[in-house]
Each structure stands twice: as structure tokens, then as C-alpha cells.
């Protein structure tokens, strides 16, 4: 199991050091600093073995978090734990920075004592932790009832929610957030495309509400369609094939496995209900058509056309096209029909920004790139043209069909809950080779 956990600043100074196991000596702290943080080359692996001691690290801005062990631990678990640790810290004091860590070091030690025991991760749900690890000096004088409520929540089946939550207005927000990824060849052939989506829920519901979430999952729709034959034709078209999905720990996985229904008691506040991935019938919101021509050895002509491919009534926002330029670029002239374009020498790219663009439109940019003559035999690698955007629909085609809420003990029904659904599609890695 995890033998120790260290947090360093960018210089390699130790901010937090907590050792859980006797086999981890003091020198482990220095070994990581010397061999990884101060290493001359770029880090080649997130797992480093130094003198039979293994170090796992992740970086958040310029802070290094390292877990160390001498045993054959579950490596996936260690990384999941490090991420979780970051989440917990962020939930307590915001951004993970040197200053914040120094300001909260007592709290961090307290958290580390709680969520990692002898190197075994324990309950790390912020909701539960915040009930008894607080920043304002601990009131150790909880009433007896409160105490047992805390402990049963920390250890209980529903560790992510406490009892007795009350809202005057029962309300929930569902955000379907998708990132669409594309790799396209210069000829416009899709080399790979997938959508990775998340359903994020913000729940402000009283009691212990039982929720059931439904979407246009092909498997579910086809199952139901069997009963009413005439509906299959209509709804079948709108359903989507989900390659795979994962759920927040509140979702009853065995129920999903057997009935494919998504039922759960949600944590209070914001959480990520599910993640999913689709690869079929993706709506690619933009098509990028590049044209690069080398004119002699000292000049490049670049023309890029972008086409929006969605309903004309919808508007895409925050569009940005990034056209890489060679390292020996000396000057660039750009002309674009829409938006603003600029050559950024420090980033070796032409950045073209458009604030808004409606569906089924087209726009283009052309640029002349002057090059310095070089002796470098190596040809320019031509990195792909990448794109960023945001569209108000789900490129996977996912639709929320329902989210039902039942709370048998309290007197509010599904109808009384105010529900909001929003779809946002963003570009993930959206690249076209040129």
C-alpha cells in the first residue's frame, strides 16, 4: 500500500510530508526531488523506481504530488487516490497552489490522516468529510446523535449524502457536457472521431430522494420498442449507441447491468453522474479544409476554409482555429473574411478567432508565410490544424428523456421538482492534418 505522501513546490521544497509505513525512510523525500523534480530530462514516466522504491506523481500547476511505496501496490488506485486528494483539497481551499497549501497545512495533515489509513484509502467524499473536518477549529462537542450520524455516514452505504437535508424549493440542474474529438486527414477522411461526454448534475433536493435517469440509449429504446412496434421506427432513429459508460459511485451498477436503468440517490450539490463515449453517427460541428502550398524554399501559402455543419438556427461560440507555422517563419500576412486573425510568433501559430457563427455557414482565411532560409535538412513536421469551439447541442445526439425523483418519506412529488437541462458541446482534440 501507499507508504508515504509528499507534496513539493516547483523548486522541490517539501510542503507536506506524511509517512504511513515504516519501510519508507526520510531519504525517500530527497530521492524523488533529486531524481525526478530536478532531473535534467523531461519526465518519461509518471511512475519512477528509485532504489527499489516506487514513486507515483501527478502535477497540478507547479505543485508536485508524489505517493511512494515499496510494495506491489495497485497502481491505478494510487493515481485515482492522488486525483481524489486534489479534488478534496480543491473543495476545501480552492486552487492547489503553494500558498494555499502552506496556508492550510494543518488541515491537509488532518485530511491525510483521515482519508489514508496505513496507506489504505478511506472514505474521501468531500460531502462526508466536511461534516467533521472543518477549518474553523474543530468542535469536538458534537452531540451524541450528531456523532453517530457522522460515523454512519462516513462508513455507510450512502456515504455521499447525509440525512435530513431540506430545501424549500426542490430543484435540479442537468448539464450534458460533451467534448467532440476528431482527427481528420488532409483529404477530409475521418481518421478517428469520438465524443466523450459527461452528465453533471446539481441537485438541491430534500431528504433521501430516489432518482431515475433516462436517455435515448439505443439498447433501452429498442427494448421498449418491442412492446409498441409502431414506435420503433420513429424513436429508433433518434436513439444513440453508447460504446461505454461509467457512473458515479451512487449509481447502482448491478441494476444498470441487468436492466440498463440508471437509478441512484444523488449527493447533495454538484457531482458527475456519468461519463460516456460514443463513436457512431457523431455530428461533427465543423469541417476544416486546409490547403498548404510551398512556394519555393522561403514561402508558404496557406488557405483554410471552415464550414459549420448544424442547424442554421443554432449559434456556435468561442471559435478558434490554430494554424501552426514553421519555426523559421519571419513574417506572416493574413486575410480573413470573418473574425480576427493574428500571427503569434511565441506560439508558432496563426490564431484565428471568431466570436459567433451560425450553422450551415462557411468562412475562410488565407495567409502568406515568409520563411528564413535554413540549412536544416529536416523538413517541417507540419503539426495538425486544431480547432476550438462551443455549440449548444450534444454532438453525440444524446437526449435526456427523463429524470424522475421519488421521495416517499417527504411530501413532494416528481412534479414539484423544478428541472433544468442544458446541452453544451465543446471541442476536445479537434484536429485536421495538413
Amino acid at each position: 500500500m501507499i507508504g508515504g505522501l509528499f507534496i513539493y513546490n516547483h523548486k522541490g521544497e517539501v510542503l507536506i510530508s506524511r509517512v504511513y509505513r515504516d519501510d519508507i525512510g526520510r531519504n525517500a523525500v530527497d530521492a524523488f526531488r533529486v531524481n525526478v523534480i530536478h532531473a535534467r530530462q523531461q519526465v518519461r514516466s509518471p511512475v519512477t523506481n528509485i532504489a527499489r522504491t516506487s514513486f507515483f506523481h501527478v502535477k497540478r500547476s507547479n505543485i508536485w504530488l508524489a505517493a511512494v511505496t515499496k510494495q506491489n501496490v495497485n497502481a491505478a488506485m494510487v493515481f485515482e487516490f492522488l486525483y481524489k486528494m486534489c479534488d478534496v483539497m480543491a473543495a476545501y481551499f480552492g486552487k492547489i497552489s503553494e500558498e494555499n497549501i502552506k496556508n492550510n497545512f494543518v488541515l491537509i495533515y488532518e485530511l491525510l490522516d483521515e482519508i489514508l489509513d496505513f496507506g489504505y484509502p478511506q472514505n474521501s467524499e468531500t460531502g462526508a468529510l466536511k461534516t467533521f473536518i472543518t477549518q474553523q477549529g474543530i468542535k469536538s462537542q458534537h452531540t451524541k446523535e450528531e456523532q453517530s450520524q457522522i460515523t454512519s455516514q462516513v462508513t455507510g452505504q450512502i456515504g455521499w449524502r447525509r440525512e435530513g437535508i431540506k430545501y424549500r424549493r426542490n430543484e435540479l440542474f442537468l448539464d450534458v457536457l460533451e467534448s467532440v474529438n476528431l482527427l481528420m486527414s488532409p483529404q477530409g477522411q475521418v481518421l478517428s472521431a469520438h465524443v466523450s461526454g459527461r452528465v453533471v448534475m446539481k441537485s438541491y433536493l430534500s431528504g433521501m430522494p430516489e432518482c431515475k435517469f433516462g436517455m435515448n440509449d439505443k439498447i433501452v429504446i429498442e427494448k421498449q420498442g418491442k412492446g409498441t412496434a409502431d414506435e420503433t421506427g420513429k424513436s429508433g432513429k433518434q436513439s444513440i449507441a453508447i460504446d461505454d459508460c461509467t457512473f458515479h459511485q451512487c449509481v447502482r451498477l448491478s441494476k444498470f447491468d441487468s436492466e440498463r436503468s440508471i437509478s441512484f440517490i444523488p449527493p447533495d450539490g454538484e457531482f458527475e453522474l456519468m461519463r460516456y463515449r460514443t463513436t457512431k453517427d457523431i455530428i461533427l460541428p465543423f469541417r476544416v479544409i486546409p490547403l498548404v502550398r510551398e512556394v519555393g524554399r522561403t514561402k508558404l501559402e496557406v488557405k483554410v476554409v471552415i464550414k459549420s455543419n448544424f442547424k442554421p438556427s443554432l449559434l456556435a461560440q468561442k471559435i478558434e482555429v490554430r494554424i501552426p507555422t514553421p519555426l523559421n517563419t519571419s513574417g506572416v500576412q493574413v486575410i480573413c473574411m470573418k473574425g480576427k486573425a493574428k500571427y503569434k510568433a511565441s506560439e508558432n501559430a496563426i490564431v484565428w478567432k471568431i466570436k459567433r457563427m451560425a450553422g450551415m455557414k462557411e468562412s475562410q482565411i488565407s495567409a502568406e508565410i515568409e520563411l528564413l532560409p535554413t540549412n536544416d535538412k529536416k523538413k517541417w513536421a507540419r503539426p495538425p490544424i486544431s480547432m476550438n469551439f462551443e455549440v449548444p447541442f450534444a454532438p453525440s445526439g444524446l437526449k435526456v428523456r427523463y429524470l424522475k425523483v421519488f421521495e416517499p418519506k417527504l411530501n413532494y412529488s416528481d412534479h414539484d421538482v423544478i428541472k433544468w437541462v442544458r446541452y453544451i458541446g465543446r471541442s476536445g482534440i479537434y484536429e485536421t492534418r495538413c
Binding site: 500500500m1 521544497e13 517539501v14 510542503l15 507536506i16 510530508s17 519501510d23 523525500v29 519526465v43 514516466s45 523506481n49 515499496k70 510494495q71 506491489n72 501496490v73 495497485n74 497502481a75 491505478a76 493515481f79 485515482e80 486525483y83 502552506k102 496556508n103 497545512f105 494543518v106 495533515y109 488532518e110 490522516d113 489509513d117 478511506q122 472514505n123 477549529g137 474543530i138 469536538s140 458534537h142 451524541k144 456523532q147 453517530s148 460515523t151 462516513v154 462508513t155 455507510g156 452505504q157 482527427l183 486527414s185 481518421l191 478517428s192 469520438h194 460504446d243 461509467t246 457512473f247 459511485q249 451498477l253 448491478s254 447491468d257 458527475e272 529536416k378 523538413k379 503539426p383 486544431s386
Partner: protein, 939 residues
């Protein structure tokens, strides 16, 4: 509130000031001071001098302060054991506190203080906490048992904590169950022999129930524990799999990977014909792909594991090539791993796409990545024949870029392509020759020189090219020197007239001016060959080379199976067994996949060997009990060379423990004392056989007069399991000495050297009497024959089967393990003839229950032939009687460890079936003696 100020106190006299503050009356000031102490401790300053002052602050209602003091105690208690005692009272008191959070805190902290005196006091509170009404306290106490066990294992056992811990597996609270499982698993790991976890269908059921309810971490503990369970049959395996599959949709990647591990392992037990098997395969792919959208560090862990899974079960991900395409922004470690998997998944169906990608990657920035991409193109060519042409043209394009390292890498892989497809792509040689000057890496230079030598007849100026390398001969690396030597000899054999001078030059450089023995030896061999018999030289040097195989970097199957059992863990990231990077006893236990069950009948009882074991089974397969006969026959028949390695073999081999550590317990009850060194007979003369004394036996196939029967060589270690090293061998006994005759064949592409051999302890103390002598490094496709003398004075451990020998062979590449069965007759000593009287007395003396009867079938020999044949293998006929037309032969033999075996062999004239009765004080050898009879008589 800003605590960062505590980090900035660096002035002198600080400790003194702190001391004053710690002893202050004001609570706030005290707390401030403790915080400063902790901050100093964090940055590595020694604040142990403040121990008594800090401990004084322990008695407080303020939980925050208390926790800080505890933190300090955990760090420094060991350095101040006497003073740590001061804290005991508070701990014990806190363990009784009405607040469960405080009770848990106390027991948690106490377990972390490694001071004997404190540990003594821990037992009582711990016992109470394990039975506490509050689950939070119980789950903390469960982990505390593991802590205590780490400090003092004996104490934990004596106090009966293990039983209490086992009871917690049935606790009503899922988190308590999970922590108990984690603690027990850890303790069990350091006691491999104990049946601590005692998993049975009932406890498994409890775990599976808790699995649905506990935290994500708890699920990982439980799944990792489940993976160690061995279901009793395929039905149980399937039902566990069914209950584990829902975990594949968990958001936590570690839960997913641990579930994958359980499924991959239990799948071994499912029949491939089962519908469920197919369903399971389909279910595994999507979650594995999803892991690739996790954070990069987890992607890395996932990819390292997928690499193993793809090798074990390629069918799972064969359609998912695209997800392994490298993204421009992937960290380098993710890129390299993806590339590896792409090559493994490359097939005729997707090769076009793969090649297009690889070509793209070859223009990237990172040198390592580009090199690997170029190499990958070459591997595609070798793997998918249809693509070879396109690969070659892609490589040529890359050579045109003139990027130095790309060119070098390309030349190295083109050499391999030539080897795989001879006489197909040699037209490109001209292009390669253009780049001769830019090559500065040994591997590329050697490859180019090989090409020039191999195709010398097609390259007009081959002599000039090679001569140019010769100028700086002594500055080259060994690899290049050796290659250059061979290439010039090849050239000479092809164009003898113009190159005489050149070859002489290189031979003298290699033999006279070089300090490298390898180079010198090779030089001398060529020289002698050329000077004595140029025709023979031509046959040797220009011999046709065997084709190279497509996959060279596969993980050895035994290791792969072991690593599959470690999915998700560090071992799977390093691709090394835990023993390679974990110190001490932990992790030494090898894990193995459950034996593959072929049919549903044999699946009923995993212990029984599959009844219909195919005859192509390899000798390395250690037969399960009850199927010895079948295996013995295999052994005798000189089994076919190749055939897929059986999983059963790998499983058993995983358990080979050369040092014998921890296996002592298995020795109990053995009848074999270590043989005294003097039992080896020194006489060279063969004892004169009873009555006949006929040493010439025309029917016997035994070539040597006084040697016993020698089985033909069988492949013990197939090349694919040992990175290209193939070992075949047999055992012989000649004039009193035993030896192991080995044929080592190098089927890899690199030279092998530094051979060594070691035996595991075995039933008769067989051990090498001399080190393994392989005089020259073994070049590719070379075979060397070695006779390794053995003695029987090694350490003894009873093996199952008795004649099992586990062997480790090391070379410069790796250590390989195999096991083989030796025929018992190599242990029959020359003075094994008993006096008649002695025989009679002994026969009566040995109880009847020690008598074993066997049938020897289809042996057409008569009594005389039989006894003379047996005598060749030191089985001596003492008397012969004729009873009712049957010949009765009374025989004796003695084993190297002094055990006598008496035999009565009944032969009916005209009946080819003999009856053999064996009596021995150690009846377990009878079976093997019988097999020896069979072996000797039938060959």
C-alpha cells in the same frame, strides 16, 4: 487564517523559544507553537528535542491540537521510546472516549507508533475497538490489526486478533468488511502458507454482496482479494464473473482494472464454447477503451496493462486499433505505449491505416518516439507479409528525409526485412549504400555491414565499402567488429580473386591486434576454415539462414500469465514480477492463472489432469498426479518439438522457487535423507551379471557397454518461452556418472552468452557437478552441445512427482525456468546387486503393504534378454526360477541415496505382458522404478 507564516521561522534559538511557547498557559499560544513544530518537522528540521513539551499538550479537548500532537508522536516516538510511554495513558483513555471519532483516532494513532512498550498497551484497547458498536471505530481497528502485525506478528497471532479480523468479514457494515479484507490480504501475503483468508463459496458470497455497497476504495480491496480465489469449477467462476462485470462501469479506473483482473483470471476456467465466454470477451473491450480517456497518468497504467491483455487475449481489442492512435498532445510516455500496442494489434485488416499513422509519427519531434515509429514500420513488414512492400517504400521515403537517426533506424529494420523476405527487396540496396557515411551508431553500422556482406555479389564496390570501415577497425564497437569480420569473409568467399588482401587484413586485425576473445575466436575459426577447407568454409559461412519470426519482444508466456494475475498493480506497470522490485518476503509468492479447463467434465475437479491430454504435450509439462503413465509415455517417445505451450505447464513453472525459500515446510515426512557423498560407486567395471554374464545384447539398442539407456533428446524449453533460447536434452548414466546432455540453440537474433545453470532442490539431490561450460557466445542459429556432469549431493526436497527437476538457466538476456522429469534409472547405482540371502531376508522384512504390482505390456523379449537388458541399466538379476512354466526373475537395484528396491518379474513364455512386483521401504519410488523398467525394456 494563514498558516504559511509557520514555515518562515528560521532564526536561531528557535527551539528554545518554541519550548517556552509550548509550555505557555494560553491555549492559543500552545496551539500556535505546535503548528510551528509540525511545520519545522515537515521541512525536515529535527525538532525531536521538544518531545516532552509537545507530549504535554496531548491532554486537551481541542481535537485539532490533539491531532497535531499525535502527528508529532508518530514521527518521533521511535527516537524517544522512553518518553513515548508518557503518552500511553492518554491513548488508553481516549480509546474509552464517548465520541467514536476520538476512539478511532486514538486506536489509529497508537497503531502507528512503533515502540514495543506502547504496543503492549495497544492490545486491550484494540480488542475493544474491534468489537465497538460504532462501525467507524471497527473499520479503523481492522486496519490497526494490520499495523500491529507489521510491528509484531507473533503478538497478533497470540492475542487472537486474526480470528476477530476474520469475523469482521461478516460485519454488517460494508466499509468494515472492506478494511478487514484489506488487512487480512496484507497479513496473508507475509504468511503465504497460512490459509488465513480461507476463501470459500460462503465468504465469497459475502464479499460479493459487500462489493455492491462499499466505497470505491473498498471495492478495489475486495476485487483484489477476489482475484486470489480459485473457484472450484467453471460454474462458480461464471457466477462470480457475472457479479463482477457491473463494476466495469464504475467511474474509478482502479475499480475497473481490478474487475478486469478478476475476469481475465477466471475466464481461464471457462470453456471457450460457452456462450458466456463470448459475452464476457465483448464486455471487456469498451471499459478498456474508456480507460484511455482518463488522465494521462492513469492512461499510462491502463496502456501498460492493455499491452499484457492484448498479448494474452488478442481477440478482445482487435477491432479497436483506432483508439490507440497517438494524439499530438499526448505525453511522451503515453505515446510510446500506444505505439507498442498498435504494433501488436496490426493485422492485414488494418495495416493500411496503421502504416499511414506510423509514417505520420516518423516526422514528430521526440527522438525516441520517432525511432520507435520507424522500427514499428519494420515490424509491420515482418508481421504482415502483404504490407511488406509498402513498408519498404515508406522506409525508403524516410531515408530520403536524411534525418540522421531516422536513416539509421530505417537501415536496422530493413536488415530484418531482408532476413524475412530474402531475394525480394534487394533493389533498395543502392539507396542504402548512399547513406553509409551518415551512420554513426553501432547498431546501424553493423546492420549496414551485414547487408553489404550478405549481398556482396550484387554490390559492385562492396570491397571498397568494407575497406572503408576497416580503417578505424579498433575504434568500432564489438558488434561492428564482429559483423565486419564476417562480412569480409563472406565477401571473400563470393569474390575470392580481388579480396584476398582484405580478408587477410581483417583476420590479422581480429586475431592479432584485438583483446576481445570473442572477436579473436571468431577470427581464428574463419582463418582455419579458410586455410583447411574453403569449400567447408563456404558451406558454413554462406549457409542458408532460417527465416526470422515475426514477434520478438513478446513477454515470455509464464511471466505473462503471472503478470495477468497482477493487473492494475505496479508489477503490471513494470512488466516484472513483484519479486523483482519488492524487498523481503512480500511478493515472493508467485501467482498463477487457474488451469485452463478444456471440457466440462474435467472442469469438475481441477486437481485431476485433463483426461484427454493431447499427445503433443511438451515434456516441460509437469503431469498432475494420476496421469503419470500418460506423461511417461510421452517422455519416452521423444515428443515433437513444437506445439503451443500448455497453460498447465506455465502455471506450475510459475511456482518454481530456486532458492527453495519458504518451501521447507513441504519437506516434512520425506523418507529421503541426504545421501552421503560416498554412495557414488567408484568402480569402473560393470558388475558381472548373475548366471549369464552376457554383456552383449543384440536386441538392446543401448550403444555403450556399461551405460544405461539414454532417451532421445526432448525439447525442455521451447524458444518462444525463453526469448529465443531453445534447450533440449536428456539424461545419461555412464560408468557410474550421471550427466545431463544438453543442446542449446539460439533462435533469437542476438548473441547469447554468460550461460549458467542451477537446479532447484529435488528428491534425490541432483545438482550440477560443474558449472555450465559454454565456451563461446552462442550466435544466432548456432547450436551447442554440452554434457553437464551431475552429482547427487545437492540439497534434497521431496518433489511431486518424485522425479521432477526444476531448472533455471541464465544467459545474458534473462533467467528462464523449466522443469523436466528425469528417468529414475539414471540413479540406479552399479553396486546394486544384493546377496541372495540378503535378498530373501529383505523381501520378507519389507511389509506387504509396501509391495506394488505393475503390468509391463507388449514386451517381446525372453527372460535372458530381459535380464541382460536390465543389467545394462544396473538392475541386477539375482536369481531365476521356473514356476509352472513361468520364468520368475528376482532382481535388485539400489538408488544413489541408498534405497534398495527389490523386484520380482514374472514372464510367461509367449505372453508379451510381464508382471512386475516391487518391494521397497520407500514405496513412493515404486511407480518410478516401474517406469524405468518400461523405459529400459522397450528401447
Amino acid at each position: 487564517m494563514t498558516d504559511s507564516k509557520y514555515f518562515t521561522t528560521t532564526k536561531k534559538g528557535e527551539i528554545f523559544e518554541l519550548k517556552a511557547e509550548l509550555n505557555s498557559d494560553k491555549k492559543e499560544k500552545k496551539k500556535e507553537a505546535v503548528k510551528k513544530v509540525i511545520a519545522s518537522m515537515t521541512v525536515g528540521k529535527d525538532v525531536s528535542a521538544l518531545f516532552p513539551d509537545v507530549v504535554n499538550c496531548m491532554q486537551t479537548d481541542n481535537l485539532e491540537l490533539k491531532k497535531l500532537v499525535y502527528l508529532y508522536l508518530m514521527n518521533y516516538a521511535k527516537s524517544q521510546p522512553d518518553m513515548a510511554i508518557m503518552a500511553v495513558n492518554t491513548f488508553v483513555k481516549d480509546c474509552e472516549d464517548p465520541n467514536p471519532l476520538i476512539r478511532a483516532l486514538a486506536v489509529r494513532t497508537m497503531g502507528c507508533i512503533r515502540v514495543d512498550k506502547i504496543t503492549e498497551y495497544l492490545c486491550e484497547p484494540l480488542r475493544k475497538c474491534l468489537k465497538d458498536e460504532d462501525p467507524y471505530v471497527r473499520k479503523t481497528a481492522a486496519v490497526c490489526v494490520a499495523k500491529l502485525h507489521d510491528i509484531n506478528a507473533q503478538l497478533v497471532e497470540d492475542q487472537g486478533f486474526l480470528d476477530t479480523l476474520k469475523d469482521l468479514i461478516s460485519d454488517s457494515n460494508p466499509m468494515v468488511v472492506a478494511n478487514a479484507v484489506a488487512a487480512l490480504s496484507e497479513i496473508a501475503e507475509s504468511h503465504p502458507s497460512s490459509n488465513l483468508l480461507d476463501l470459500n463459496p460462503q465468504s465469497i458470497n459475502k464479499l460479493l454482496t459487500a462489493l455492491n455497497e462499499c466505497t470505491e476504495w473498498g471495492q478495489i480491496f475486495i476485487l483484489d482479494c477476489l482475484a486470489n480465489y480459485m473457484p472450484k469449477d467453471d460454474r462458480e467462476a461464471q457466477s462470480i464473473c457475472e457479479r463482477v462485470t457491473p463494476r466495469l462501469s464504475h467511474a474509478n479506473s482502479a475499480v475497473v482494472l481490478s474487475a478486469v483482473k478478476v475476469l481475465m483470471k477466471f475466464m481461464e476456467m471457462l470453456s471457450k464454447d460457452l456462450d458466456y465466454y463470448g459475452t464476457l470477451l465483448k464486455k471487456l473491450a469498451p471499459p478498456l477503451v474508456t480507460l484511455l480517456s482518463a488522465e494521462p497518468e492513469l492512461q499510462y497504467v491502463a496502456l501498460r496493462n492493455i499491452n499484457l491483455i492484448v498479448q494474452k487475449r488478442p481477440e478482445i481489442l482487435k477491432h479497436e486499433m483506432k483508439v490507440f492512435f497517438v494524439k499530438y498532445n499526448d505525453p511522451i510516455y503515453v505515446k510510446l505505449e500506444k505505439l507498442d500496442i498498435m504494433i501488436r494489434l496490426a493485422s492485414q485488416a488494418n495495416i493500411a491505416q496503421v502504416l499511414a499513422e506510423l509514417k505520420e509519427y516518423a516526422t514528430e519531434v521526440d527522438v525516441d518516439f520517432v525511432r520507435k515509429a520507424v522500427r514499428a514500420i519494420g515490424r509491420c513488414a515482418i508481421k504482415v507479409e502483404q504490407s511488406a512492400e509498402r513498408c519498404v517504400s515508406t522506409l525508403l521515403d524516410l531515408i530520403q528525409t536524411k534525418v540522421n537517426y531516422v536513416v539509421q533506424e530505417a537501415i536496422v529494420v530493413i536488415k530484418d526485412i531482408f532476413r524475412k523476405y530474402p531475394n525480394k527487396y534487394e533493389s533498395v540496396i543502392a539507396t542504402l549504400c548512399e547513406n553509409l557515411d551518415s551512420l554513426d551508431e553501432p547498431e546501424a553500422r553493423a546492420a549496414m555491414i551485414w547487408i553489404v556482406g550478405e549481398y556482396a555479389e550484387r554490390i559492385d564496390n562492396a570491397d571498397e565499402l568494407l575497406e572503408s570501415f576497416l580503417e578505424g577497425f579498433h575504434d568500432e564497437s564489438t558488434q561492428v567488429q564482429l559483423q565486419l569480420l564476417t562480412a569480409i569473409v563472406k565477401l571473400f568467399l563470393k569474390k575470392p580473386t580481388e579480396t584476398q588482401e582484405l580478408v587477410q587484413q581483417v583476420l590479422s586485425l581480429a586475431t592479432q591486434d584485438s583483446d576481445n576473445p570473442d572477436l579473436r575466436d571468431r577470427g581464428y575459426i574463419y582463418w582455419r576454415l579458410l586455410s583447411t577447407d574453403p569449400v567447408a568454409a563456404k558451406e558454413v559461412v554462406l549457409a542458408e539462414k532460417p527465416l526470422i519470426s515475426e514477434e520478438t519482444d513478446l513477454i515470455e508466456p509464464t511471466l505473462l500469465d503471472e503478470l495477468i494475475c497482477y493487473i492494475g498493480t505496479l508489477a503490471s506497470v513494470y512488466h516484472k514480477p513483484p519479486s523483482a522490485f519488492v524487498e523481503g518476503s512480500r511478493g515472493v509468492v508467485h501467482k498463477s492463472l487457474p488451469p485452463r479447463t478444456g471440457s466440462s467434465e474435467s472442469a469438475e475437479s481441477p486437481e485431476a489432469a485433463p483426461t484427454g491430454a493431447p499427445p503433443s504435450e511438451q515434456p516441460a509439462v509437469i503431469p498432475a498426479q494420476g496421469d503419470l503413465l500418460g506423461d511417461l509415455l510421452n517422455l519416452d517417445l521423444g515428443p515433437p518439438v513444437s506445439g503451443p505451450p500448455m497453460t498447465t505447464a506455465s502455471v506450475q513453472m510459475g511456482a518454481v522457487d530456486l532458492l527453495g525459500g519458504g518451501l521447507d515446510s513441504l519437506m516434512g515426512g520425506t523418507n529421503f535423507a541426504a545421501p552421503p557423498a560416498g554412495t557414488m560407486p567408484a568402480t569402473l567395471s560393470a558388475p558381472i551379471g548373475g548366471g549369464l554374464g552376457d554383456l552383449f545384447d543384440l536386441t538392446s539398442g543401448v550403444g555403450t557397454l556399461s551405460g544405461s539407456y539414454v532417451a532421445p533428446k526432448a525439447v525442455w524449453l521451447p524458444a518462444m518461452k525463453a526469448k529465443g533460447l531453445e534447450i533440449s536434452g536428456t539424461f545419461t548414466r555412464q560408468v557410474g556418472s550421471i550427466s545431463m546432455d544438453l543442446l542449446l540453440t539460439n533462435k533469437a537474433l542476438q548473441v547469447m552468452s554468460d550461460f549458467a545453470i542451477q537446479f532447484n532442490r529435488n528428491s534425490f539431490g541432483l545438482a550440477p557437478a560443474a558449472p555450465l561450460q559454454v565456451h563461446a557466445p552462442l550466435s544466432p542459429n548456432q547450436t551447442v552441445e554440452i554434457s553437464l556432469p551431475l552429482n547427487t549431493v545437492g540439497s534434497v526436497m521431496k518433489m511431486d512427482p518424485l522425479n521432477n527437476l526444476q531448472v533455471a538457466v541464465k544467459n545474458n538476456i534473462d533467467v528462464f525456468y523449466f522443469s523436466t522429469l528425469y528417468p529414475l534409472h539414471i540413479l540406479f547405482v552399479e553396486d546394486g546387486k544384493m546377496e541372495r540371502q540378503m535378498f530373501l531376508a529383505t523381501w520378507k522384512d519389507i511389509p506387504n503393504e509396501n509391495e506394488a504390482q505393475f503390468q509391463i505390456k507388449d514386451c517381446p523379449l525372453n527372460a535372458e534378454a530381459v535380464s541382460s537388458k536390465l543389467q545394462g541399466s544396473n538392475i541386477f538379476t539375482i536369481a531365476k526360477r521356473n514356476v509352472e512354466g513361468q520364468d520368475m526373475l528376482y532382481q535388485s537395484l539400489k538408488l544413489t541415496n541408498g534405497i534398495w528396491v527389490l523386484a520380482e518379474l514374472r514372464i510367461q513364455p509367449g505372453n508379451p505382458n510381464f508382471t512386475l512386483s516391487l518391494k521397497c521401504r520407500a514405496p513412493e519410488v515404486s511407480q518410478h522404478v516401474y517406469q524405468a523398467y518400461e523405459t529400459v525394456l522397450k528401447n
